[in-house]
Protein backbone atom coordinates (compact mmCIF):
# COMPACT_ATOMS: atom_id res chain seq x y z
CA UNK A 1 0.00 0.00 0.00
CA UNK A 2 1.21 3.44 -0.81
CA UNK A 3 1.93 5.54 2.22
CA UNK A 4 2.15 8.95 0.64
CA UNK A 5 -1.45 9.89 1.29
CA UNK A 6 -2.52 9.56 -2.31
CA UNK A 7 -6.14 9.51 -3.38
CA UNK A 8 -6.33 5.79 -4.16
CA UNK A 9 -5.15 4.85 -0.70
CA UNK A 10 -7.74 7.15 0.86
CA UNK A 11 -10.51 5.74 -1.37
CA UNK A 12 -9.48 2.32 -0.10
CA UNK A 13 -9.94 3.46 3.49
CA UNK A 14 -13.40 4.79 2.66
CA UNK A 15 -14.32 1.57 0.86
CA UNK A 16 -13.18 -0.49 3.83
CA UNK A 17 -15.35 1.61 6.15
CA UNK A 18 -18.35 1.05 3.85
CA UNK A 19 -17.71 -2.69 3.75
CA UNK A 20 -17.71 -2.79 7.53
CA UNK A 21 -20.98 -0.84 7.55
CA UNK A 22 -22.58 -3.29 5.13
CA UNK A 23 -21.46 -6.20 7.27
CA UNK A 24 -22.99 -4.71 10.39
CA UNK A 25 -26.20 -3.87 8.58
CA UNK A 26 -26.61 -7.52 7.65
CA UNK A 27 -25.97 -8.47 11.26
CA UNK A 28 -28.77 -6.22 12.44
CA UNK A 29 -31.21 -7.89 10.07
CA UNK A 30 -30.08 -11.32 11.27
CA UNK A 31 -30.57 -10.56 14.93
CA UNK A 32 -34.01 -9.02 14.45
CA UNK A 33 -35.02 -12.09 12.45
CA UNK A 34 -33.73 -14.32 15.26
CA UNK A 35 -35.72 -12.38 17.83
CA UNK A 36 -38.88 -12.48 15.77
CA UNK A 37 -38.50 -16.25 15.38
CA UNK A 38 -39.00 -16.79 19.12
CA UNK A 39 -42.22 -18.67 18.65
CA UNK A 40 -44.11 -17.84 21.79
CA UNK A 41 -45.78 -14.89 23.36
CA UNK A 42 -45.67 -13.23 26.72
CA UNK A 43 -43.86 -10.60 28.65
CA UNK A 44 -40.41 -12.20 28.38
CA UNK A 45 -40.72 -12.81 24.64
CA UNK A 46 -41.96 -9.27 24.10
CA UNK A 47 -39.02 -7.97 26.11
CA UNK A 48 -36.61 -10.07 24.06
CA UNK A 49 -38.06 -8.74 20.83
CA UNK A 50 -37.97 -5.17 22.11
CA UNK A 51 -34.33 -5.62 23.12
CA UNK A 52 -33.51 -6.92 19.65
CA UNK A 53 -35.24 -4.02 17.97
CA UNK A 54 -33.47 -1.52 20.23
CA UNK A 55 -30.20 -3.25 19.45
CA UNK A 56 -30.92 -3.13 15.74
CA UNK A 57 -31.62 0.60 16.01
CA UNK A 58 -28.33 1.00 17.85
CA UNK A 59 -26.56 -0.95 15.16
CA UNK A 60 -28.17 1.21 12.49
CA UNK A 61 -26.70 4.26 14.17
CA UNK A 62 -23.27 2.61 14.19
CA UNK A 63 -23.69 1.80 10.51
CA UNK A 64 -24.60 5.43 9.80
CA UNK A 65 -21.55 6.56 11.77
CA UNK A 66 -19.38 4.30 9.65
CA UNK A 67 -20.95 5.59 6.44
CA UNK A 68 -20.47 9.15 7.67
CA UNK A 69 -16.84 8.35 8.36
CA UNK A 70 -16.46 6.83 4.89
CA UNK A 71 -17.99 9.96 3.38
CA UNK A 72 -15.63 12.13 5.41
CA UNK A 73 -12.65 10.14 4.16
CA UNK A 74 -13.95 10.53 0.61
CA UNK A 75 -14.26 14.26 1.06
CA UNK A 76 -10.74 14.31 2.37
CA UNK A 77 -9.59 12.31 -0.65
CA UNK A 78 -11.37 14.81 -2.90
CA UNK A 79 -9.65 17.69 -1.19
CA UNK A 80 -6.27 16.02 -1.45
CA UNK A 81 -6.88 15.23 -5.11
CA UNK A 82 -8.06 18.68 -6.14
CA UNK A 83 -5.04 20.75 -5.30
CA UNK A 84 -2.68 18.63 -3.38
CA UNK A 85 -4.20 20.15 -0.31
CA UNK A 86 -7.15 22.11 0.97
CA UNK A 87 -5.37 25.48 0.78
CA UNK A 88 -5.08 26.00 4.48
CA UNK A 89 -1.66 24.52 4.92
CA UNK A 90 1.00 27.20 4.22
CA UNK A 91 3.06 25.17 1.76
Amino acid sequence: MATDGDGDGLRGVAAAARALADDLGAGAADVVAAAESVAWEGLAADAARATARAGADRLDRTVRALLDAAAAVDRHADAVGRAGGDGWWPW
Binding site: L10, L24, A69, R75, H76, A77, W88
Partner: protein
Protein backbone atom coordinates in the same frame (compact mmCIF):
# COMPACT_ATOMS: atom_id res chain seq x y z
CA UNK B 1 -73.29 -51.41 39.79
CA UNK B 2 -71.58 -51.44 43.12
CA UNK B 3 -72.96 -50.45 46.44
CA UNK B 4 -70.52 -48.20 48.21
CA UNK B 5 -70.65 -46.10 51.28
CA UNK B 6 -70.91 -42.36 51.40
CA UNK B 7 -70.22 -39.84 54.08
CA UNK B 8 -71.73 -36.50 54.72
CA UNK B 9 -69.76 -33.65 56.15
CA UNK B 10 -71.93 -30.96 57.48
CA UNK B 11 -73.66 -29.90 60.64
CA UNK B 12 -74.78 -33.46 61.21
CA UNK B 13 -72.76 -36.33 59.85
CA UNK B 14 -73.61 -39.96 59.45
CA UNK B 15 -73.46 -42.82 57.01
CA UNK B 16 -75.55 -43.00 53.90
CA UNK B 17 -75.44 -45.46 51.07
CA UNK B 18 -76.28 -45.56 47.41
CA UNK B 19 -75.39 -47.13 44.09
CA UNK B 20 -72.40 -45.99 42.06
CA UNK B 21 -71.86 -47.22 38.57
CA UNK B 22 -68.78 -48.43 36.68
CA UNK B 23 -66.33 -47.22 34.05
CA UNK B 24 -66.31 -43.68 32.74
CA UNK B 25 -64.43 -41.21 30.58
CA UNK B 26 -60.89 -39.97 31.19
CA UNK B 27 -59.67 -36.43 31.44
CA UNK B 28 -57.51 -35.53 28.54
CA UNK B 29 -53.92 -34.62 29.50
CA UNK B 30 -51.58 -33.19 26.89
CA UNK B 31 -48.43 -31.11 26.50
CA UNK B 32 -47.19 -28.59 28.95
CA UNK B 33 -43.59 -28.36 29.95
CA UNK B 34 -42.36 -28.99 26.43
CA UNK B 35 -43.52 -25.54 25.52
CA UNK B 36 -41.42 -24.05 28.27
CA UNK B 37 -38.29 -25.87 27.16
CA UNK B 38 -38.85 -24.85 23.56
CA UNK B 39 -39.24 -21.24 24.55
CA UNK B 40 -36.09 -21.32 26.66
CA UNK B 41 -34.15 -22.88 23.80
CA UNK B 42 -35.29 -20.10 21.50
CA UNK B 43 -34.06 -17.54 24.00
CA UNK B 44 -30.71 -19.27 24.39
CA UNK B 45 -30.32 -19.26 20.61
CA UNK B 46 -31.11 -15.57 20.63
CA UNK B 47 -28.50 -14.97 23.33
CA UNK B 48 -25.93 -16.81 21.24
CA UNK B 49 -26.83 -14.64 18.27
CA UNK B 50 -26.32 -11.55 20.45
CA UNK B 51 -22.94 -12.80 21.59
CA UNK B 52 -21.83 -13.50 18.04
CA UNK B 53 -23.03 -10.10 16.92
CA UNK B 54 -21.21 -8.51 19.85
CA UNK B 55 -17.99 -10.19 18.70
CA UNK B 56 -18.63 -9.03 15.17
CA UNK B 57 -19.26 -5.45 16.24
CA UNK B 58 -16.16 -5.48 18.42
CA UNK B 59 -14.02 -6.67 15.51
CA UNK B 60 -15.57 -3.93 13.40
CA UNK B 61 -14.67 -1.33 16.01
CA UNK B 62 -11.07 -2.48 16.09
CA UNK B 63 -10.96 -2.47 12.29
CA UNK B 64 -12.28 1.09 12.23
CA UNK B 65 -9.57 2.17 14.66
CA UNK B 66 -7.14 0.50 12.29
CA UNK B 67 -8.54 2.61 9.46
CA UNK B 68 -8.11 5.74 11.56
CA UNK B 69 -4.44 4.83 11.87
CA UNK B 70 -4.09 3.92 8.23
CA UNK B 71 -0.68 5.12 6.96
CA UNK B 72 -2.15 6.66 3.82
CA UNK B 73 -4.68 8.57 5.83
CA UNK B 74 -2.08 9.80 8.30
CA UNK B 75 0.32 10.76 5.50
CA UNK B 76 -2.40 12.77 3.81
CA UNK B 77 -2.86 15.04 6.78
CA UNK B 78 -0.37 17.58 5.57
CA UNK B 79 -2.18 17.86 2.23
CA UNK B 80 -5.62 18.50 3.70
CA UNK B 81 -5.48 19.08 7.39
CA UNK B 82 -9.08 20.25 7.77
CA UNK B 83 -10.69 17.40 5.90
CA UNK B 84 -8.19 15.03 7.47
CA UNK B 85 -9.29 16.14 10.92
CA UNK B 86 -12.93 15.65 9.96
CA UNK B 87 -12.26 12.17 8.57
CA UNK B 88 -10.25 11.17 11.61
CA UNK B 89 -12.93 12.44 13.96
CA UNK B 90 -15.62 10.56 12.05
CA UNK B 91 -13.68 7.32 12.11
CA UNK B 92 -12.90 7.56 15.81
CA UNK B 93 -16.54 8.36 16.52
CA UNK B 94 -17.61 5.29 14.53
CA UNK B 95 -15.39 3.18 16.78
CA UNK B 96 -15.53 4.87 20.18
CA UNK B 97 -18.36 7.41 20.10
CA UNK B 98 -21.83 7.05 21.65
CA UNK B 99 -23.00 5.13 18.60
CA UNK B 100 -19.61 3.58 18.04
CA UNK B 101 -18.98 -0.06 17.40
CA UNK B 102 -16.92 -0.79 20.50
CA UNK B 103 -19.52 0.66 22.82
CA UNK B 104 -22.22 -1.20 20.92
CA UNK B 105 -20.34 -4.48 21.28
CA UNK B 106 -20.43 -4.22 25.05
CA UNK B 107 -24.16 -3.54 24.94
CA UNK B 108 -24.83 -6.57 22.76
CA UNK B 109 -22.90 -8.74 25.18
CA UNK B 110 -24.88 -7.32 28.08
CA UNK B 111 -28.07 -8.06 26.17
CA UNK B 112 -26.90 -11.63 25.70
CA UNK B 113 -26.46 -11.98 29.45
CA UNK B 114 -29.95 -10.57 30.04
CA UNK B 115 -31.56 -12.91 27.53
CA UNK B 116 -29.75 -15.91 29.04
CA UNK B 117 -31.00 -14.85 32.45
CA UNK B 118 -34.52 -14.68 31.06
CA UNK B 119 -34.20 -18.19 29.67
CA UNK B 120 -32.82 -19.45 32.97
CA UNK B 121 -35.66 -17.78 34.83
CA UNK B 122 -38.18 -19.38 32.53
CA UNK B 123 -36.76 -22.82 33.11
CA UNK B 124 -36.48 -22.21 36.84
CA UNK B 125 -40.10 -21.12 36.98
CA UNK B 126 -41.09 -24.26 35.15
CA UNK B 127 -39.04 -26.31 37.61
CA UNK B 128 -40.83 -24.56 40.43
CA UNK B 129 -44.16 -25.49 38.91
CA UNK B 130 -42.95 -29.06 38.54
CA UNK B 131 -42.01 -29.08 42.22
CA UNK B 132 -45.47 -27.84 43.02
CA UNK B 133 -47.01 -30.65 41.02
CA UNK B 134 -44.65 -33.03 42.76
CA UNK B 135 -45.90 -31.88 46.14
CA UNK B 136 -49.44 -32.45 44.97
CA UNK B 137 -48.48 -35.92 43.80
CA UNK B 138 -46.88 -36.56 47.18
CA UNK B 139 -50.08 -35.54 48.88
CA UNK B 140 -52.05 -37.72 46.53
CA UNK B 141 -49.72 -40.58 47.32
CA UNK B 142 -50.81 -40.33 50.91
CA UNK B 143 -54.42 -40.26 49.87
CA UNK B 144 -54.34 -42.95 47.27
CA UNK B 145 -51.45 -45.21 48.16
CA UNK B 146 -48.16 -45.85 46.38
CA UNK B 147 -49.78 -47.54 43.41
CA UNK B 148 -51.66 -44.40 42.57
CA UNK B 149 -48.62 -42.14 42.33
CA UNK B 150 -48.17 -42.78 38.61
CA UNK B 151 -51.66 -41.68 37.73
CA UNK B 152 -51.35 -38.90 40.25
CA UNK B 153 -48.25 -37.59 38.51
CA UNK B 154 -50.02 -37.93 35.20
CA UNK B 155 -52.69 -35.82 36.74
CA UNK B 156 -50.06 -33.21 37.43
CA UNK B 157 -50.68 -31.59 34.06
CA UNK B 158 -54.38 -31.94 34.68
CA UNK B 159 -53.92 -30.38 38.06
CA UNK B 160 -54.80 -27.11 36.42
CA UNK B 161 -58.36 -28.38 36.50
CA UNK B 162 -58.42 -26.17 39.53
CA UNK B 163 -55.98 -23.57 40.63
CA UNK B 164 -55.06 -24.91 44.07
CA UNK B 165 -53.23 -27.96 42.72
CA UNK B 166 -50.69 -25.73 41.09
CA UNK B 167 -50.94 -22.69 43.22
CA UNK B 168 -51.25 -23.93 46.74
CA UNK B 169 -47.92 -25.77 46.69
CA UNK B 170 -46.38 -22.72 45.06
CA UNK B 171 -47.68 -20.70 47.92
CA UNK B 172 -46.19 -23.21 50.30
CA UNK B 173 -42.83 -22.94 48.60
CA UNK B 174 -43.12 -19.19 48.78
CA UNK B 175 -43.58 -19.23 52.49
CA UNK B 176 -47.07 -20.51 53.12
CA UNK B 177 -46.23 -23.69 54.95
CA UNK B 178 -42.46 -23.36 54.68
CA UNK B 179 -40.76 -20.55 56.50
CA UNK B 180 -38.93 -18.01 54.39
CA UNK B 181 -39.49 -17.03 50.82
CA UNK B 182 -38.67 -18.50 47.48
CA UNK B 183 -36.18 -16.49 45.44
CA UNK B 184 -38.36 -16.59 42.36
CA UNK B 185 -41.34 -15.09 44.10
CA UNK B 186 -41.15 -11.57 45.43
CA UNK B 187 -41.88 -10.74 49.02
CA UNK B 188 -45.56 -10.50 49.69
CA UNK B 189 -46.45 -13.21 47.24
CA UNK B 190 -46.93 -15.80 49.96
CA UNK B 191 -50.37 -17.29 50.18
CA UNK B 192 -52.48 -19.01 47.60
CA UNK B 193 -54.12 -15.90 46.26
CA UNK B 194 -50.83 -14.03 46.04
CA UNK B 195 -49.05 -16.81 44.21
CA UNK B 196 -52.02 -17.30 41.92
CA UNK B 197 -52.08 -13.61 41.17
CA UNK B 198 -48.38 -13.65 40.42
CA UNK B 199 -48.78 -16.53 38.02
CA UNK B 200 -51.93 -15.06 36.52
CA UNK B 201 -50.02 -11.87 35.78
CA UNK B 202 -47.70 -13.76 33.47
CA UNK B 203 -50.69 -14.34 31.23
CA UNK B 204 -51.17 -10.63 30.73
CA UNK B 205 -54.54 -9.06 29.93
CA UNK B 206 -57.24 -11.61 29.21
CA UNK B 207 -59.21 -9.79 26.58
CA UNK B 208 -62.94 -9.21 26.45
CA UNK B 209 -65.45 -12.03 26.72
CA UNK B 210 -66.94 -13.33 23.51
CA UNK B 211 -70.36 -14.83 24.14
CA UNK B 212 -72.02 -16.67 21.30
CA UNK B 213 -75.54 -17.98 21.37
CA UNK B 214 -75.62 -21.57 20.11
CA UNK B 215 -79.28 -22.34 19.59
CA UNK B 216 -78.24 -25.24 17.40
CA UNK B 217 -77.06 -26.99 20.57
CA UNK B 218 -80.23 -26.40 22.57
CA UNK B 219 -81.57 -29.76 23.73
CA UNK B 220 -83.88 -29.13 26.63
CA UNK B 221 -83.66 -31.87 29.26
CA UNK B 222 -86.60 -33.15 31.23
CA UNK B 223 -87.42 -30.98 34.23
CA UNK B 224 -85.07 -31.93 37.09
CA UNK B 225 -86.64 -33.83 39.94
CA UNK B 226 -83.59 -34.49 42.09
CA UNK B 227 -79.87 -33.73 42.44
CA UNK B 228 -78.94 -36.51 40.02
CA UNK B 229 -81.01 -34.80 37.34
CA UNK B 230 -79.20 -31.53 38.01
CA UNK B 231 -75.79 -33.15 37.66
CA UNK B 232 -77.04 -35.05 34.64
CA UNK B 233 -77.93 -31.73 33.07
CA UNK B 234 -74.42 -30.50 33.79
CA UNK B 235 -72.97 -33.64 32.23
CA UNK B 236 -75.01 -33.01 29.10
CA UNK B 237 -73.54 -29.52 28.74
CA UNK B 238 -70.04 -30.79 29.51
CA UNK B 239 -70.44 -33.25 26.63
CA UNK B 240 -70.89 -30.28 24.29
CA UNK B 241 -67.57 -28.76 25.24
CA UNK B 242 -65.65 -31.21 23.09
CA UNK B 243 -67.00 -29.61 19.93
CA UNK B 244 -68.03 -26.29 21.41
CA UNK B 245 -65.33 -25.18 23.86
CA UNK B 246 -66.62 -22.83 26.47
CA UNK B 247 -70.15 -24.23 26.26
CA UNK B 248 -72.42 -23.22 29.12
CA UNK B 249 -76.17 -23.55 29.42
CA UNK B 250 -78.89 -21.58 31.07
CA UNK B 251 -81.87 -23.82 31.75
CA UNK B 252 -84.97 -21.79 32.48
CA UNK B 253 -87.40 -23.79 34.60
CA UNK B 254 -90.97 -22.73 34.08
CA UNK B 255 -93.33 -23.69 36.87
CA UNK B 256 -96.99 -24.57 36.65
CA UNK B 257 -97.84 -21.04 37.68
CA UNK B 258 -95.55 -19.58 35.04
CA UNK B 259 -92.87 -18.48 37.48
CA UNK B 260 -89.30 -18.81 36.29
CA UNK B 261 -86.16 -20.11 37.88
CA UNK B 262 -82.84 -20.82 36.25
CA UNK B 263 -80.17 -23.47 36.44
CA UNK B 264 -76.78 -22.44 35.03
CA UNK B 265 -74.46 -25.30 34.12
CA UNK B 266 -70.69 -24.66 34.14
CA UNK B 267 -68.50 -27.56 32.96
CA UNK B 268 -64.86 -27.87 33.92
CA UNK B 269 -61.68 -26.63 32.30
CA UNK B 270 -61.49 -27.04 28.52
CA UNK B 271 -57.78 -26.37 28.10
CA UNK B 272 -55.77 -27.64 31.02
CA UNK B 273 -52.31 -27.02 29.59
CA UNK B 274 -52.41 -23.38 28.63
CA UNK B 275 -49.18 -21.48 29.07
CA UNK B 276 -48.83 -17.76 28.55
CA UNK B 277 -47.44 -18.33 25.06
CA UNK B 278 -50.04 -20.87 24.01
CA UNK B 279 -53.08 -18.95 25.15
CA UNK B 280 -55.89 -18.72 22.66
CA UNK B 281 -59.58 -17.92 22.65
CA UNK B 282 -60.44 -20.57 25.24
CA UNK B 283 -61.68 -18.74 28.31
CA UNK B 284 -61.82 -21.87 30.49
CA UNK B 285 -58.09 -22.43 30.68
CA UNK B 286 -55.29 -22.50 33.20
CA UNK B 287 -55.04 -18.72 33.24
CA UNK B 288 -58.72 -18.53 34.19
CA UNK B 289 -58.07 -20.96 37.04
CA UNK B 290 -55.28 -18.80 38.34
CA UNK B 291 -57.40 -15.70 38.14
CA UNK B 292 -60.17 -17.55 39.91
CA UNK B 293 -57.86 -18.55 42.75
CA UNK B 294 -56.38 -15.08 43.04
CA UNK B 295 -59.74 -13.37 43.09
CA UNK B 296 -58.91 -11.39 39.96
CA UNK B 297 -61.58 -10.39 37.46
CA UNK B 298 -62.04 -13.27 35.06
CA UNK B 299 -63.19 -13.07 31.47
CA UNK B 300 -64.97 -16.41 31.76
CA UNK B 301 -67.01 -15.23 34.74
CA UNK B 302 -67.92 -12.02 32.95
CA UNK B 303 -68.94 -14.08 29.93
CA UNK B 304 -71.18 -16.32 32.05
CA UNK B 305 -72.87 -13.28 33.52
CA UNK B 306 -73.44 -11.91 30.03
CA UNK B 307 -74.89 -15.24 28.92
CA UNK B 308 -77.26 -15.17 31.88
CA UNK B 309 -78.37 -11.69 30.93
CA UNK B 310 -78.86 -12.67 27.29
CA UNK B 311 -80.86 -15.69 28.42
CA UNK B 312 -83.24 -13.31 30.15
CA UNK B 313 -82.42 -14.18 33.75
CA UNK B 314 -84.21 -11.59 35.82
CA UNK B 315 -82.69 -10.00 38.89
CA UNK B 316 -85.28 -11.49 41.23
CA UNK B 317 -85.55 -14.94 39.68
CA UNK B 318 -83.85 -17.65 41.76
CA UNK B 319 -80.73 -19.13 40.22
CA UNK B 320 -78.96 -22.41 40.91
CA UNK B 321 -75.48 -22.91 39.47
CA UNK B 322 -73.96 -26.33 38.94
CA UNK B 323 -70.27 -26.70 38.27
CA UNK B 324 -67.84 -29.49 37.66
CA UNK B 325 -64.23 -29.04 38.76
CA UNK B 326 -63.21 -25.51 37.77
CA UNK B 327 -66.86 -24.86 37.01
CA UNK B 328 -67.66 -25.40 40.68
CA UNK B 329 -65.08 -22.85 41.68
CA UNK B 330 -66.48 -20.41 39.15
CA UNK B 331 -69.98 -21.12 40.46
CA UNK B 332 -68.84 -20.30 43.98
CA UNK B 333 -67.22 -17.07 42.79
CA UNK B 334 -70.34 -16.00 40.94
CA UNK B 335 -72.52 -16.86 43.92
CA UNK B 336 -70.27 -14.84 46.19
CA UNK B 337 -70.48 -11.90 43.81
CA UNK B 338 -74.26 -12.19 43.73
CA UNK B 339 -74.48 -12.42 47.49
CA UNK B 340 -72.42 -9.27 47.88
CA UNK B 341 -74.60 -7.47 45.37
CA UNK B 342 -71.83 -7.09 42.79
CA UNK B 343 -73.90 -8.81 40.13
CA UNK B 344 -77.64 -8.41 39.61
CA UNK B 345 -78.70 -12.04 39.97
CA UNK B 346 -80.36 -13.91 42.79
CA UNK B 347 -78.09 -16.92 43.09
CA UNK B 348 -79.50 -19.12 45.84
CA UNK B 349 -77.80 -22.45 45.46
CA UNK B 350 -74.58 -23.97 44.16
CA UNK B 351 -74.05 -27.66 43.46
CA UNK B 352 -70.44 -28.61 42.78
CA UNK B 353 -69.01 -31.86 41.49
CA UNK B 354 -65.36 -32.61 42.06
CA UNK B 355 -64.36 -29.06 42.93
CA UNK B 356 -61.89 -27.90 45.56
CA UNK B 357 -63.26 -25.55 48.13
CA UNK B 358 -62.25 -21.95 47.63
CA UNK B 359 -61.83 -19.18 50.16
CA UNK B 360 -64.99 -17.64 48.71
CA UNK B 361 -66.97 -20.58 50.08
CA UNK B 362 -66.71 -19.00 53.50
CA UNK B 363 -68.45 -15.85 52.26
CA UNK B 364 -71.61 -17.73 51.34
CA UNK B 365 -74.38 -18.79 53.62
CA UNK B 366 -76.79 -16.58 55.48
CA UNK B 367 -80.44 -17.24 56.06
CA UNK B 368 -81.69 -14.05 54.52
CA UNK B 369 -83.10 -13.45 51.10
CA UNK B 370 -79.63 -13.54 49.60
CA UNK B 371 -78.51 -16.65 51.44
CA UNK B 372 -76.55 -19.11 49.33
CA UNK B 373 -76.00 -22.76 50.14
CA UNK B 374 -73.57 -25.19 48.62
CA UNK B 375 -74.00 -28.89 48.04
CA UNK B 376 -70.53 -30.25 47.26
CA UNK B 377 -70.18 -33.73 45.81
CA UNK B 378 -66.79 -35.40 46.17
CA UNK B 379 -65.99 -38.78 44.73
CA UNK B 380 -63.71 -40.62 47.09
CA UNK B 381 -60.56 -41.26 45.08
CA UNK B 382 -61.02 -38.22 42.87
CA UNK B 383 -57.95 -36.18 43.80
CA UNK B 384 -59.17 -32.84 42.52
CA UNK B 385 -61.57 -31.86 45.31
CA UNK B 386 -58.90 -32.81 47.86
CA UNK B 387 -56.25 -30.61 46.33
CA UNK B 388 -57.29 -27.54 48.25
CA UNK B 389 -55.33 -29.20 51.04
CA UNK B 390 -58.06 -28.72 53.58
CA UNK B 391 -60.66 -30.90 55.20
CA UNK B 392 -64.22 -30.41 53.97
CA UNK B 393 -65.67 -27.20 55.28
CA UNK B 394 -68.02 -27.90 58.17
CA UNK B 395 -70.50 -25.08 57.98
CA UNK B 396 -74.27 -24.84 58.07
CA UNK B 397 -74.46 -23.47 54.55
CA UNK B 398 -72.24 -26.13 53.00
CA UNK B 399 -72.94 -29.84 52.82
CA UNK B 400 -70.18 -32.03 51.45
CA UNK B 401 -71.06 -35.51 50.27
CA UNK B 402 -68.11 -37.85 49.83
CA UNK B 403 -69.13 -40.97 48.05
CA UNK B 404 -67.69 -44.09 46.45
CA UNK B 405 -64.23 -45.55 46.59
CA UNK B 406 -63.00 -47.60 49.50
CA UNK B 407 -61.75 -50.22 47.05
CA UNK B 408 -65.24 -51.63 46.93
CA UNK B 409 -64.56 -52.94 43.44
CA UNK B 410 -60.97 -54.24 43.63
CA UNK B 411 -59.19 -54.30 40.32
CA UNK B 412 -62.00 -52.63 38.45
CA UNK B 413 -59.84 -50.13 36.60
CA UNK B 414 -61.81 -47.04 35.85
CA UNK B 415 -64.64 -48.14 38.03
CA UNK B 416 -65.82 -46.38 41.08
CA UNK B 417 -63.49 -48.42 43.21
CA UNK B 418 -60.73 -48.63 40.59
CA UNK B 419 -57.26 -47.19 40.85
CA UNK B 420 -57.47 -44.48 38.16
CA UNK B 421 -57.81 -41.12 39.86
CA UNK B 422 -58.27 -39.35 36.55
CA UNK B 423 -61.27 -41.46 35.74
CA UNK B 424 -62.66 -40.86 39.18
CA UNK B 425 -62.92 -37.18 38.35
CA UNK B 426 -65.35 -37.96 35.54
CA UNK B 427 -68.87 -36.54 35.75
CA UNK B 428 -70.42 -39.97 35.21
CA UNK B 429 -69.45 -40.89 38.75
CA UNK B 430 -70.90 -37.67 40.03
CA UNK B 431 -74.28 -38.40 38.52
CA UNK B 432 -74.20 -41.68 40.41
CA UNK B 433 -73.01 -39.97 43.58
CA UNK B 434 -75.82 -37.45 43.31
CA UNK B 435 -78.25 -40.34 43.04
CA UNK B 436 -76.74 -41.74 46.24
CA UNK B 437 -77.33 -38.40 47.92
CA UNK B 438 -80.89 -38.36 46.64
CA UNK B 439 -81.49 -41.76 48.17
CA UNK B 440 -80.03 -40.85 51.52
CA UNK B 441 -82.13 -40.07 54.56
CA UNK B 442 -79.33 -38.14 56.19
CA UNK B 443 -80.83 -35.03 57.77
CA UNK B 444 -78.44 -32.67 56.00
CA UNK B 445 -79.32 -34.12 52.63
CA UNK B 446 -83.00 -34.21 53.39
CA UNK B 447 -82.71 -30.53 54.27
CA UNK B 448 -80.89 -29.83 51.04
CA UNK B 449 -83.53 -31.57 48.95
CA UNK B 450 -86.29 -29.76 50.83
CA UNK B 451 -84.54 -26.48 50.17
CA UNK B 452 -84.17 -27.19 46.47
CA UNK B 453 -87.85 -28.09 46.32
CA UNK B 454 -88.88 -25.01 48.28
CA UNK B 455 -86.91 -22.84 45.89
CA UNK B 456 -88.81 -24.44 43.03
CA UNK B 457 -85.87 -26.11 41.32
CA UNK B 458 -87.38 -29.62 41.43
CA UNK B 459 -90.96 -29.18 40.34
CA UNK B 460 -90.82 -27.25 37.08
CA UNK B 461 -93.31 -28.06 34.36
CA UNK B 462 -90.91 -27.51 31.48
CA UNK B 463 -87.36 -26.48 30.71
CA UNK B 464 -86.09 -24.02 28.13
CA UNK B 465 -82.40 -24.55 27.50
CA UNK B 466 -80.20 -21.86 26.03
CA UNK B 467 -76.64 -22.82 25.17
CA UNK B 468 -73.86 -20.30 24.79
CA UNK B 469 -70.15 -20.54 24.26
CA UNK B 470 -67.97 -18.24 26.31
CA UNK B 471 -64.58 -17.39 24.86
CA UNK B 472 -62.48 -14.30 24.73
CA UNK B 473 -60.82 -11.95 22.34
CA UNK B 474 -57.16 -12.75 22.11
CA UNK B 475 -55.45 -9.72 23.61
Amino acid sequence: MALVSARVSGPESGPVSGPVSGAGSRLRVVGGAGGVVAGADDLRDLATAYDELGDRVRRTGRAVLGLAADPDLLASAVRGPTTFAEAEAALVAAALGPDGALRGAATWEADAVAVRATAAGLVAADRLAAQAVGRVAHRLGGLLGPGALGPALALGAAASVAAPPLVEPLAALAGGTVDGSHPLLPAGAAGTAGAAGLLAATYGPEGAPVVTRRSDLDRAPAPPRDVADLIGGLAGVAALAGTAPGAVAVDTLVGADGTRRHVVHLPGTDDMTTWPWTRDGDARDLGANLRLASGSPMTYGAGVLRAMAEAGVGPDEPVLITGHSQGGMAATALAAAARSGEVPFDVRQVVTAGSPATPLSATLGGAGARGVEVLALEHRGDPVPHLDGTAPVDAPHRVTVIFGGDGAVPGAAGGAGGADPVDRHGLRHYVAGAAAADASDHPSLVAQRDRLADLGFLDARRVERRVFTVGRDEP
